[in-house]
Symmetry: C2
Amino acid sequence: MTDGCDGEVTDDATDDAKADGGWTDAEEEIMLATYRALLEHGYAGLSISRIADELDKSKASIYYHYDSKDDLLGAFLAYAADRFQSSILTESGDDPREDLERVIEKLLPLRPDEEERQIQAVFLGLRGQAVTNATFREQFTELDEQLAATIREVVERGIDEGAFRDVDADRVAEHVLATINGAMYGRATSDRETAVAAVRVSLSSYLDAELRRS
Amino acid sequence: MTDGCDGEVTDDATDDAKADGGWTDAEEEIMLATYRALLEHGYAGLSISRIADELDKSKASIYYHYDSKDDLLGAFLAYAADRFQSSILTESGDDPREDLERVIEKLLPLRPDEEERQIQAVFLGLRGQAVTNATFREQFTELDEQLAATIREVVERGIDEGAFRDVDADRVAEHVLATINGAMYGRATSDRETAVAAVRVSLSSYLDAELRRS
DNA sequence: GTCTATATAAGGATAGAC
DNA sequence: GTCTATCCTTATATAGAC
């Protein structure tokens, strides 16, 4: 699982200047094509040919940048995780209770637009592979770890500031994360649309009861 | 997605008498071989050849019983869902609060044995496909619907009997189901083992706070 | 860096014997 | 019902020209 790049580490502007994350233009095009192919065909139907179809380049050019399909998939997961995380870990306001709602709304939007639905569908499709793919497992372990930490830190801040009761922040964070993940997962893999709304309501009332000082 | 059986509907004991669920012996052998193949190779690595390897029969014999791989997969999901449900919907005791804990422990065991882990891994692997497979989606929609109904009914019974406060049973059921599903999903697709324990503790304390009459 | 052409393997599915 | 043999398609991956 290398990045297919021949030792280019410096930051100076070459023809293929790396973007922030560390991908050349060509590589990013491949990542985007992979994303579109996953959307259309799902993980089970993903092939190098299908990715090439979404790209306006040939299959062989993909193998110039990535050693194998596994290599490409590993890179794609890193790419997707990077973008996913930076979309969640936004700036925080001054009310921790509002920050919690913001995180929840980001991860489990009440009315997701088409793009949000698609991103989550692709993500969950990949995550399903983590059951049998060790590399994927590690990535998702790290991702959940980060999300849990984010939630935990907001709760801890609320406690420190005196806005919340002195609860076990870790326990609350794991509860919230599991509930969000479960509802997200349910939304992507079933047609029980009303379930998400019920969970959102229940989660908010849980947090009010658990955190609010009386 | 037929069952590959030529109109046999009656119950009399033929040479290939159907078992309870409606599968002949040969079909059940194929289902078990499919299960083993999924365990070993995951959904993405599942092939008719691999199933035949787990069976002591040839690929062609599988096609005698099922028209296509899709057909077989549909049958397998029905088979697995059937067994999964009947393992959850066990007899209920007289204390609704204990019944809730029993359902939770069934779905999210604190210390799952190897078989429980495997069943959940296979299940989650299949569920991941529901993102892009309509037939799978319908099956998992139905399954979640049943689980939610089971939980809701226990809560409603508790309310009727005066053991619980008069909460919104549907809301509570959806919350519990999402939290269980999220933790189950996390356990199968990441290595955050302590997360499940935290969720179990938090879920119990949530139910105590939400349901207990004061 | 990208292309065309191709090697090689594996997969789904069928034919026809028993 | 099950087998062997086979067809056809698709997949991953590479070779070599430009």
